[in-house]
């Protein structure tokens, strides 16, 4: 669409943007969390007398103080206590919370809370947990008859948090009959969704109400859980989310909010809870995964079956992992024609930090094995890895999963775009080597090279439930209200662009408010790459509703019917003769005339707009009016009879119309990489990264490219560096010096960012989502490229220098 500068840039670079961590309330107190020093143990005693007597301490809260407060949360399985009850299930689990006048006093007193444990065996990995008779959760939390994702609760007899399956045809038989069967097993590490702003929450409980300011990605989901826990009506719970300093899925659903709310309830004061990086790593991480893929091919290298096993290490509490597992299953087999399929998934409880949503939502875990398997298959079949994919890719309109939206993307074209960019880089390099003679070749000695492509398709967009409100003011400018959260992705900019285009006003005339459940309308979630697509549709609908309301007001003022008013060029025109009652611009009722220009036609010209995007008025008769019509501002002032008032439009998205079929869109991941490997040190350098943003229509191309580069870089982190390392019961690297996230100098030497705009999405102007897509295939692509360079296929990420070095050793044997 258009380049529009980020609306949040100025306030962010000048330090004026307000984040949750900046929030203060009068009479606010501070909490320090006492965390478990055992991975798995019964709590036998908590001695808090010394802490309670410490300076500045208001109260020390443990589970036993919480009384009849709904003590557990977890939107799928309510297995998560606010504060550990009877036992702890991971090192770092909150056991007590100290509330004091200052953060220092709280922190000092927290060290005076003495906890006695009766140790249980620590089951810190999925294999051990699944094989063990020791139960991490001894009870089942779902009520009888309650079901989630079609799976009924069972009595807790093992350490399985969730199981699911997807199958069609007869995979076993087809594999037995296949000409070639290729098997791949990979381990995806435990990773942390590092964000510059760590989790924090400020809560103010008062009789009959609860106000929370937090880093929640999904404020409405948090409101629902808090309302249930505190037995309050939804309207009495206010969740405010200012800017979030990075989310990446890690801030979806409820995290610290119940802890802050319970502390406020107990202390009778507003209470703030914050985390450092260590505490954040012990709050949520991504599911680790062991995935095995077996693919059967016929003699023409066409897939006849895939059989996939996914085992998640889900940590101590289920959080969102059951849904992540289900999505991982859907995303594991790739956008290929697969006549026979069986995917089985199990999420195991372990005594580690709880896992939940993370950018890509199960796709990167599964695609690592699935896409690496395609490369291994190409080798076995003796054909090019691009060709194997080309032969098996689905075409636009094909079914990926029965009953779901057909494929809304052209993957062969995306693949071609990647290959031509990779080829271009190789050609440029050859030319450079030629030009510089031997010198360059010498630099290359001791270096191995490899390249690979990888593709994914994710059923994204989540539930299409969204509401937007546009309030047009008396000068024609607009305030847009949505509960979608801005966490750096630029959604406020993109949504303002859509509103500006629909209403034919310049983007400067659109203000977007922060999400606040008291004032902004319902939004399902901010995740699954949905905002521009799903919320964008709601904004379009709200603008159409606004135009209808303006038409009704114009008609009312002119004494005609709404059908006599049409919208064209950002103005309202009459099709009936209204010359006796109203004239065009610059005239009309009292106090209106001189305002005729403000933001009306001139603004529409500045936008080069003129056409309406979509809208209900399209059904109205064609304009016959020869005059220049009225601006919306004129209509508003005329109707109120003053330079005052506003007109509101509301737009709703639900499972209907463009979003009747789920998912709202398939999010495509399409990348290529070229890597070099230092033979002596095992260091991997990403020489070239190609991303294809298959977004249908880029509402803001720079924002899409930013998402693609950011997502791909996060994927490089998983591929090369990031891993939460448990040594025994606790993390050995709970800090950013040793938990290595990508740095600027780790970014690829060359980046080619392609946008594929084929208008094939269900969103505004044919848009589909971006945000996760470019992460999903990156770990697989890097693994395959390193495998090609070294001559041994990796089985485990991240590919740190020592790991690559050991692959090099294997290659020599």
């Amino acid at each position: 669409m258009t380049a529009a500068p980020r609306r949040d840039a100025w306030e962010k670079v000048t330090g004026r943007a307000r984040y949750a961590v900046d929030a203060v309330l009068p009479n606010m107190a501070h909490a320090a969390v006492v965390r478990s020093e055992r991975a798995h143990a019964y709590l036998t005693a908590i001695d808090r007398a010394e802490a309670e007597a410490a300076p500045g301490v208001i109260t020390v809260v443990t589970a036993e103080d919480l009384g009849d407060l709904g003590r557990r949360f977890g939107h799928i399985v309510p297995d998560h206590a606010i504060l550990a009850v009877d036992k702890v299930r991971y090192y770092g689990e909150p056991v007590a919370v100290v509330v004091a006048e200052t953060p220092h006093q709280a922190a000092d007193a927290a060290e005076m809370v003495w906890v006695d444990y009766d140790d249980l065996p620590a089951l810190t990995d999925a294999a051990t947990a699944l094989a063990s008779d020791v139960l991490i959760h001894e009870q089942s939390y779902l009520e009888p008859g309650q079901k989630f994702l079609d799976v009924a609760p069972t009595a807790s007899t093992d350490n399985v948090a969730h199981r699911n399956e997807l199958a069609w045809g007869d995979a076993e038989a087809a594999l037995a009959a296949a000409a070639t069967v290729v098997e791949t097993t990979t381990t995806f590490p435990l990773v942390y969704g590092y964000a510059m702003e760590t989790y924090n929450a400020l809560a103010d409980w008062q009789p009959g109400s609860l106000h929370v300011v937090s880093t929640a990605q999904h404020p409405l989901m948090v409101r629902r859980e808090l309302a249930r826990m505190f037995s309050l009506p939804l309207a009495a719970v206010r969740v405010e989310v200012p800017y979030i300093g990075g989310g990446y899925g890690s801030k979806s659903y409820t995290k610290l909010e119940p802890l802050a709310a319970a502390a406020s309830w107990a202390a009778g004061r507003p209470v703030k809870v914050t985390t450092d990086v260590e505490a954040a790593m012990y709050t949520t991480r991504a599911d680790g995964a062991l995935v095995t893929v077996r693919t059967g091919f016929d003699a023409d290298a066409r897939i006849c079956a895939r059989d996939i096993d996914i085992r998640f290490d889900t940590g101590a509490y289920a959080d969102n992992s059951p849904l992540v597992l289900t999505k991982s299953i859907n995303r594991s087999f790739g956008p290929y024609r697969i006549p026979n399929l069986r995917v089985r998934g199990v999420a195991a409880y372990t005594n580690t930090s709880p896992a939940s949503s993370y950018r890509g939502f199960g796709a990167p875990q599964a695609a690592l094995a699935g896409e690496l398997n395609m490369d291994m298959a190409a080798d076995r079949l003796g054909i090019d890895p691009v060709e194997v994919r080309r032969r098996n890719l689905l075409a636009p309109g094909d079914t990926i999963i029965d009953g779901k939206r057909p494929l809304d993307a052209d993957l062969v074209a995306d693949l071609d775009a990647i290959v031509s960019a990779l080829d271009q880089h190789a050609a440029d390099r050859d030319a450079a080597v030629q030009a510089s003679g031997d010198q360059h070749a010498a630099v290359d000695s001791g270096t191995l090279r490899g390249r690979a492509v990888a593709l994914t398709a994710s059923d994204a967009g989540a539930s299409p439930i969204s509401t937007a409100q546009v309030r047009m003011h008396a000068d024609g400018s607009v305030t847009l209200l949505v509960s979608s959260t801005e966490m750096g992705q630029g959604s406020r900019t993109a949504l303002a662009q859509i509103a500006a285009r629909e209403l034919c006003v310049p983007i400067e005339a659109v203000a977007v408010g922060q999400s606040d459940t008291r004032f902004t309308p319902f939004e399902w979630t901010t995740g699954a790459s949905r905002t521009t697509t799903v919320v964008g549709l709601a904004v379009q609908a709200a603008c159409a509703d606004l135009w209808d309301n303006l038409r009704a007001k114009a008609a009312d003022s002119a004494g005609v019917t709404i059908d006599d008013v049409v919208v064209h060029g950002g103005r309202l025109h009459f099709t009936a003769d209204v010359s006796n009652t109203v004239s065009g611009s610059g005239a009309g009722g009292d106090g209106v005339g001189e305002h005729g220009t403000g933001l009306g036609a001139g603004a529409a010209d500045a936008l080069g707009a003129g056409e309406r995007g979509t809208g209900a008025a399209d059904a109205a008769p064609v304009v016959t009016d020869s005059g220049s019509g009225l601006t919306p501002a004129e209509v508003i002032r005329q109707w109120f009879g003053a330079d005052a008032g506003e007109v509101v439009g509301v737009g709703v998205v639900r499972r209907d119309g463009a979003t009747a079929v789920l998912p709202p869109f398939w999010e495509i991941g399409a990348v290529g990489v070229e890597v070099s490997v230092d033979e002596a040190t095992g260091e991997v350098t990403v020489e070239h990264l190609v991303t294809v943003g298959d977004v249908g229509h880029a509402v803001n191309p720079d924002l899409v490219k930013g998402q693609d580069l950011g997502a791909a870089t996060q994927g490089l982190g998983i591929a090369l560096w990031e891993e939460m390392v448990y040594d025994g019961e606790q993390l050995t690297n709970p800090n950013l010096v040793e938990y290595r996230v990508p740095r600027l100098r780790d970014t690829p030497r060359r980046i080619t960012s392609v946008l594929a705009e084929r208008g094939d999405g269900a969103g505004p102007y044919g848009a589909k989502g971006a945000g996760e897509g470019a992460l999903n295939p990156v770990p697989a692509a890097v693994a395959a490229a390193v495998g090609r360079a070294v001559g041994v296929w990796p089985t485990e990420l991240p590919l740190t220098p020592p790991r690559v070095w050991s692959l090099l050793q294997q290659a020599q044997q």
Partner: protein, 263 residues
């Protein structure tokens, strides 16, 4: 939560006052890049910290052309060290190593003294200064003494400083011809550092970062057996940056590549 406990602060520009204050519970500090996180994590629990940054005597860089050495104050930051013309001229390898320490924040606040006295093994400066034959002047209210770098750094996070002593200056002889420093740095801190001084008849090799403390050997040029024995005898650490076999292999490959030409 890593909230810093409340700490006393002693600040003076007078060296004697500073020396009078430093003691068991009174930790000297300069940039705080190590001390602050260590205190936040409860690994160090000083009652007060004594600021060294205001003492002029600890902040100088003096080139002594006559003696052929540079004297560097303990409170000199990596950034100042790497930017100083005299250091760049006479100690170019040290200047280059300082310019590649950690990240920009660590370079602009972290100091030479803090680096040596914290004795974190994964350091560049210890290795380069040992290779250069630097000496450390240590002071306390009781007096002063001079130590070699290998007498100052005894092991991982272990120095020979008494609680009331500070490192005041480091005196470094001008860099000899044939010196180089190479490091592998996959993480924030180096995995392996190798300082070499190669002349026609001598190989001086100092290995740092991968061992508990920097280790130096002097061999006759071409003594490949001696070199192999040295590498085999090193006790490499086993940490996130890699297992001992890996570090040994990387070291061997580097020495093969750099000393191979001399054979």
């Amino acid at each position: 939560m890593a909230v810093l406990p409340e700490l006393g602060l002693v600040r003076s520009s007078d060296l004697d006052e500073v020396l009078a204050a430093v003691g068991h519970d009174y930790a000297p500090y300069a940039g705080g890049t190590e001390l602050v996180p260590a205190t936040g994590l409860g690994l160090r629990r000083p009652a007060a910290i004594v600021d060294l940054k205001r003492v002029e005597a600890l902040k100088g860089i003096e080139v002594d052309a006559g003696a052929g050495s540079v004297t560097i104050g303990a409170a000199v930051t990596h950034r100042r060290l790497s930017d100083h013309p005299g250091v760049r001229e006479h100690l170019p390898t040290l200047a280059a190593a300082a310019s590649r320490v950690g990240n920009a924040r660590v370079r602009s606040t972290g100091t030479v003294g803090g680096n040596l006295c914290f004795a974190e093994p994964r350091s560049d400066l210890g290795c380069v200064l040992l290779a250069l034959g630097a000496t450390a002047e240590v002071r306390s209210a009781r007096g002063a003494r001079t130590l070699g770098i290998d007498e100052l750094i005894l092991g991982a996070f272990e120095t020979s400083l008494e609680p009331d002593e500070i490192l005041a200056t480091v005196t470094v002889p001008f860099e000899p011809p044939g010196m180089s420093y190479w490091k592998l740095q996959s993480y924030e801190r180096p995995t392996l550092g190798v300082a070499l001084v190669v002349t026609e008849d001598r190989w001086e090799i100092t290995v740092g970062a991968a061992t508990e403390r920097p280790t130096r050997i002097v061999l006759a040029a071409g003594d490949t057996a001696g070199l192999a024995a040295f590498v085999d005898g090193l006790e490499f650490s086993d940490d996130m940056t890699g297992p001992p076999d890996y570090k040994r292999s990387v070291l061997r490959a580097h020495l093969d590549q750099t000393l191979g030409a001399t054979q």
